[in-house]
């Protein structure tokens, strides 16, 4: 927890662990892990040469390459907002890290409305995307941006509804309290439907397969990222993966009991292990499914996930009434 009486320790928490540096290292690991996992599924080798072990430094090498590339701003683009958008995106993603605890002590800021703030930040991210798309002043970017806007707004609602049951059971919006109230039983056992809805909505929020519609490369080049290259693209990718990491930890805290686990393993390691499991589960669809169509995705969100999240809430209420939680 952030303590203003100890400024150095607080700074270390924000910048090193569990803050930015740890998140960035984890993100680089995630990129490598995703490429390797996908490669194994597709009977390929994947990254192999950079780094001593199985090309583990490949994402780092890619990032450095992006760092040295020329920053290209299209002539017709709105330069100020075009360059601002990646930073904006990064800020929104990184802010989420502050509120998501890795263990009871490893949290930068806990608040009794932490979950609400996270949801607010998630609803802010389509705005950053539409800024990027609009500032690019490109047809493909605009279509991709509008698709992203549709997708994220319609999936943010089932996502928020899917965690209402948990909030009722634990009686708090604070993530620390939510994890502590899972001592008797993880919420994934009490709210399995909520976990499924949250998982699918998170996939859509992150624009991951089968919901990677805003970046459908065969129709609209790269969607809203089309005009970005070099380090701006690198920042966008990092921001996306930080959001991915944040949502995976959030899933762990909400449904998998966070850092709760048998004693000899430290709590932080439990969180990281469970997060890795969630990350793997979120990556596997990329090797299994094609991309959905935008209208099918919206129909699935409004007529599939939204009612399911409401049913889940009802189940939660029944459980509270009969199990005396």
């Amino acid at each position: 927890m952030l303590d203003l009486n100890e400024p150095l320790a607080s700074l270390l928490q924000v910048l090193v662990f569990p803050g930015l540096t740890f998140a960035l290292i984890f993100v680089l690991f995630m990129v490598w892990y995703e490429r390797k996992l996908l490669a194994k599924m597709q009977l390929r080798v994947g990254p192999l040469y950079a780094g001593r072990f199985e090309g583990i430094l490949q994402p780092m090498a890619d990032f450095i390459k992006l760092l040295f590339k020329e920053v290209i701003v299209p002539k017709q683009a709105d330069k100020f907002f075009f360059l601002l958008a990646p930073t904006f995106m990064m800020a929104v993603s990184a802010s989420m890290l502050a509120l998501i605890p890795l263990s009871a002590s490893q949290v930068i800021a806990d608040s009794n409305v932490a979950l609400l703030i996270i949801i607010a930040l998630l609803s802010l991210s389509p705005l950053t995307i539409i800024v990027a798309a609009w500032a690019s002043n490109n047809k493909y970017s605009l279509i991709g941006g509008l698709r992203a806007l549709h997708q994220m707004t319609s999936y943010a609602i089932p996502m928020s509804f899917s965690i209402l049951g948990i909030v009722l059971m634990s009686g708090s919006f604070s993530l620390l309290a939510i994890v502590e109230s899972q001592r008797s039983s993880w919420f994934i056992l009490l709210q399995p439907l909520g976990a499924v809805v949250f998982y699918l909505a998170a996939l859509a929020e992150l624009e991951r397969v089968p919901f990677d519609i805003p970046e459908a490369e065969t129709e609209i080049v790269m969607g809203w990222e089309t005009e970005y290259s070099g380090i701006n693209y690198g920042i966008i990718m990092t921001a996306t993966y930080i959001k991915f990491y944040a949502l995976a930890v959030l899933f762990t805290d909400l449904f998998l009991g966070g850092w709760l686990g048998p004693a000899p393993v430290p709590p932080v390691i439990w969180t990281i292990l469970k997060t890795l499991l969630v990350v793997t589960l979120m990556m596997i669809p990329r090797g299994v499914y094609p991309r959905l169509r935008v209208d099918q995705m919206l129909r699935f969100g409004w007529t599939g996930l939204l009612p399911l999240s409401l049913v889940n809430l009802l189940i939660g209420l029944v459980e509270i009434a009969y199990l005396k939680l």
Binding site: L38, M41, Q42, L43, R44, K139, Y140, I143, V209, P210, D212, I213, A216, E217, T218, E219, V221, R286, G287, V288, Y289, P290, R291, L292, R293, V294, D295, Q296
Partner: protein
Amino acid sequence: MSEVTLNIGPQHPGSGHFRLVVSVDGDTITKATPDPGYVHRGVEKQAEYREYLQNIPLLERPVISDSNGSVYAYVLAVERLAGLTVPERAQYIRVLMAELNRIMSHLYWLAIFGIFLGHSTMFMWPFGDREAVIDLAQRAMGTRLTYSYFVPGGVRNDLPDGFKDQAIRAIEFLEKRLIEYNAIFMKNPVFLQRTRGVGILRTDDAIKLGVVGPTLRGSGIDADARKDEPYDVYDKLEFDIPTFPNGDCYSRSLVRLEEIKQSIRIVRQVLEAMPPGAFRARNPSVLKPPRGSVYTRTEAARGTYAYFITSKGDKTPYRLKISSPSFRNLPAFEFLMRGSHLADMPTIYWSLDYWPLEADR
């Protein structure tokens, strides 16, 4: 939102060298105008300046994914024009290689369909498994894609020793993989959602538009030159023409997968029935066919591939006309895309297995 015109291509990541001018109103395509010709190289005219044998490498260049299928009809036409006889072994070898090429082409099609649908595993698996057939082809014909293997009067060289065993191993491997493809790609719920009921080409529309090949068979018509006008030894072999009645992208996909199975069946029979003997008739290397015209058609991987050749008794053809399946399927673009979603554009596009080089020639 008012109408927006999008240029898909001519150098778009998915479409190959071909431009599609698409007008969209929201997410609905109001007009799709194909604009072929970006990779037109005047193959037909070039062919008039080359001897009959020299034309083979030229004519297979437009269709590198199915190069045997594209010169098959040419070789048959020259043979008929010059009155050459072909040894039976050569006929069997040609059928064998044409079918292997068909398998290769359909696997390539499946792989690129994966790209168009955003399914990266569907791209990697068939592309990797295609290597089994390519290795086979390389052993027999010397190169991976452009073989120049069929010549008037037979084939260029005989099969190497041990080819039969290698071929059996390869097709057994493919048969195993096809079962997995069926389970993972064809029965995938998202794949079904994306392809079933999308781009429906009804039987009467298919006939009116004059489409050919798997596109036509996907609309429920069992037209196949291998059965309708058997050439070489196709009439001695047992195989079925798969058709599916729905005419949507899913039917067209199933036709191609089923055709791979039928090709494997043909390859098995050919390997068993292959007689010994000469692989090529002794012919002069510079052919001078007598005056006359001839039209031949064969079933290449993408559909009916036909040649019309006129000879004036010279060592070069006087006129050579190619009718390629991709060009025949081009009218279906405009017809199928009007009124569909923008996101269905790639699905419809590749379900027709359009190969810009083949259409432009």
